[in-house]
Symmetry: C2
Subunit: 113 residues, 2 copies
DNA sequence: CGATATACCTCACCTGTCAAGGTATCTCAG
DNA sequence: CTGAGATACCTTGACAGGTGAGGTATATCG
């Protein structure tokens, strides 16, 4: 179950950006939302999540700030930037493209089986 | 142009196995055929191709033999094995699964844009 | 007080891709 | 004959992203 790590590679950043498009969020919440959207069939590993945040922030695609909750564990919120939106659009385009290319290469002989 | 290497990661083996399903073949030919099927928009890098062959052979998914052409450069032919066929089917299933999961995570708000 | 959930983080390791380099043979133009 | 180009194979080292394992801190509930 779950996706082979080699298959998700390169889509992690896109997943995160997709979520930030709908509003600022923080790590734990993004992952929870991914779990829910996929019916518990997939989740990002924490290490993957946080290294992705570092990467995206370094590239200027997201920016972060500490939330000021009165109680509970502190949360670091992330916002998608304008370049981030552009990068997201480009990555979705690339993803659609890759899907089509790969499918054309492995073209299954029949629809069912 | 071309697919980001992080996006194809994990599909290379599947691509190669897909080609071997149609009959024995050798490296150069497989790559040529991939180039053609994708209208010159994609090709595996040689280093990637040959490391994939090593990997697949080690896993018992393919086996190889030297062709005996009277003239020209020698070719190493590859055959897909029974376990290889099973692995191919499993990997296609996994790929379809991953596509659906990823799409559900990045779910675009509208069909066009 | 201990367990559980929330919430963050880092390090070392593994694996697959790829640029760069190499070898050898054949064909064809000049 | 010589050199270029295509065919055909291979290896090495660097690089990048995912991940297991470990760590910190707070709040809640029994």
């Amino acid at each position: 179950m779950s996706i082979a790590s080699d298959l998700i590679r390169g889509t992690t950043d896109m997943m995160i950006l997709a979520h930030l498009l709908e509003g600022d969020s923080y790590g734990y919440d993004i992952n929870k939302s991914i779990r829910m959207r996929t019916g518990d069939r997939f989740e990002l590993k924490e290490a993957t999540l946080y290294t992705a945040f570092r990467r995206l922030e370094q590239q200027g695609y997201i920016s972060s700030y500490w939330g000021d909750e009165g109680s509970g564990a502190r949360r670091r919120y992330y916002t998608i930037t304008a370049p981030g939106r552009k990068a997201y659009i480009a990555s979705v385009r690339e993803w659609e493209n890759a899907k089509a290319l790969i499918d054309s290469i492995i073209q299954p002989k029949s629809k069912d089986e």
